[in-house]
């Protein structure tokens, strides 16, 4: 009988834990794949925006913005204001620090040796002994080689981030999450994306999957998490996170933090393991999608509003 009770209690424990776990995560983690085409299983609109030709065709056919998963309002046009930030980033890249060196000393005039690099970030860094985002690599380089203190959320770091991303304009995002620490980071990021947190008890997935995507969150347009990361950092005016001096550049780290703040979650620290893992997940969900840098949060065309009759 004793044995029976014990077993009963054990089963109860399992059942109770199970009952709680079901509220811990938003459903669907098992349905994600690290490729942009994975969207087919979520919004089912992938074919309408899988490349710029497809976006143009969909718009010409008079499709509603939401049928293009809201990828139409930014994806086709470069941002003029963003170009100015690229220029400023180029200037920082070539600026000599007190020890006479600049980023160009190691990475070539106009970043010759870093073409395509950004499309493969984040990656595992043997030196840091963990997976890091581009902004963390920038801050490590700045400290070691230039004796500069440029952490992830500072102005020079963000300008360089924009410039380095620009050097990968047109490349397909390509990060390998099939094994090792990158696989671990991807899976952790995925779980965090689906984890319910904060005052509202929302997950990132509450707004970026299901009925919330392709709907209007008041004036805003949440889309599925596939593909978007290929366009980061973006020019985002007039938006600035409290305490940041980022020249209106929104890196993916800023975007994650901003979404956390807006949905009453505890904002993370840029470059931390946690936000890095979420970035790995988002970037891998853009694998196979072409980078387009620089673009901006909203383009000036309001055609999509007319098409949606709003």
């Amino acid at each position: 009988m004793n044995r029976l009770l014990q077993l009963g209690l054990l089963l109860t424990l399992v059942a109770t834990v199970h009952a709680q776990v079901q509220h811990d995560f938003w459903p669907g983690r098992e349905r994600v794949i690290p490729h942009v085409s994975g969207d087919e299983m979520w919004s089912g609109t992938y074919k309408n925006w899988k490349d710029s030709e497809a976006v143009k065709k969909s718009m010409a056919a008079g499709m509603m913005s939401r049928d293009i998963n809201f990828k139409d309002f930014r994806w086709l046009e470069k941002s003029f204001d963003g170009e100015l930030k690229v220029d400023m980033g180029r200037e920082v890249f070539h600026r000599k620090s007190s020890n006479g060196r600049s980023c160009a000393t190691c990475h070539g005039e106009n970043g010759e040796k870093l073409k395509g690099w950004y499309a493969t970030q984040p990656r595992f860094s043997a030196k840091a002994n963990r997976v890091i985002v581009a902004a963390t690599q920038i801050s490590i380089c700045a400290k070691e080689h230039l004796s500069e203190d440029w952490p992830e959320n500072t102005r020079n770091n963000s300008l360089l981030d924009m410039y380095l991303a620009y050097l990968s304009d047109g490349r397909d995002v390509d990060i390998d999450v099939t094994s090792g620490p990158m696989k671990e980071a991807y899976e952790k990021g995925r779980d965090l994306f689906f984890k319910r947190t904060g005052h509202f008890h929302f997950a990132c997935a509450s707004c970026h999957t299901g009925v919330t995507t392709q709907s209007y969150l008041r004036g805003q347009r949440p889309s599925t998490f596939f593909g978007d990361a290929a366009h980061y950092p973006i020019y985002h005016f007039p938006y600035r996170l409290p305490g940041d001096d980022v020249e209106d550049i929104f890196t993916l780290q800023h975007q994650i933090k901003s979404c956390q703040m807006l949905s009453r979650m505890l904002p993370g620290v840029e470059g931390s393991r946690t936000l890095t893992a979420i970035e790995v997940f988002l970037k891998a969900s853009a694998n196979g999608y072409k980078m387009s840098i620089p673009t901006q949060e909203y383009n000036m065309s309001t055609g999509y509003l007319l098409r949606d009759g709003l």
Partner: protein, 176 residues
């Protein structure tokens, strides 16, 4: 072992039911004092834009912090004590303010354009839904569906009992 399976499951089912019952009585630790603290921070015009100390009381993303290990708030099943009394004007302010209830982010409301994520509530009163239902849905929507999209207004003390009543008067629940 085989012949034990059934009684075992029965015991487990009873215990689980008891556990579920216990969950319904849950509330955030710290009681009313905590409630006041949360609310002073979030109310419109509150001093801080992002009250970090309040947010660490709920589950968070960072697994290296204590909040990374906080379990989800237990589902709260509530009963509605009538009659419904509230202030429609206050309800409107709560429903349309981004630092308050912010229902408008997802719903079209009487007299207001809004988001399209949830169903329009502009004619909600005509549907004559029971007060009990509407109250529970706003208090803790997970009682109906664990994956419903609304914030958990009651369990996390986003809104108080009276504020939910104000909102109900504003959307004109029309129920009995």
């Amino acid at each position: 072992m085989r012949q034990f399976a059934k009684p075992l499951l029965a015991v487990a089912a009873i215990c689980t039911a008891a556990a579920a019952q216990a969950q319904t009585a849950g509330s955030i630790s710290g009681g009313d004092e905590m409630l006041d603290r949360i609310r002073a921070k979030w109310q419109p015009g509150g001093a801080e834009m992002i009250p970090q100390d309040v947010l660490t009381m709920f589950p968070c993303h960072d697994e290296e912090l204590p909040c990374g290990k906080i379990p989800p708030p237990p589902v709260e099943r509530v009963t509605f004590d009538g009659p419904l009394q509230g202030d429609a004007k206050r309800g409107e302010a709560i429903a349309t303010n981004v630092r308050y209830g912010n229902c408008i982010a997802c719903h079209i409301l009487p007299g207001h354009e809004g988001g399209t994520i949830g169903p329009s509530l502009s004619e909600y009163s005509k549907r004559g839904m029971p007060l009990e239902y509407t109250y529970q849905r706003i208090w803790d929507v997970r009682a109906f569906n664990p994956y419903a999209f609304m914030p958990v207004y009651g369990p996390n003390r986003v809104l108080t009992d009276q504020e939910i009543r104000d909102v109900m008067v504003f959307i004109g629940t029309g129920g009995k």
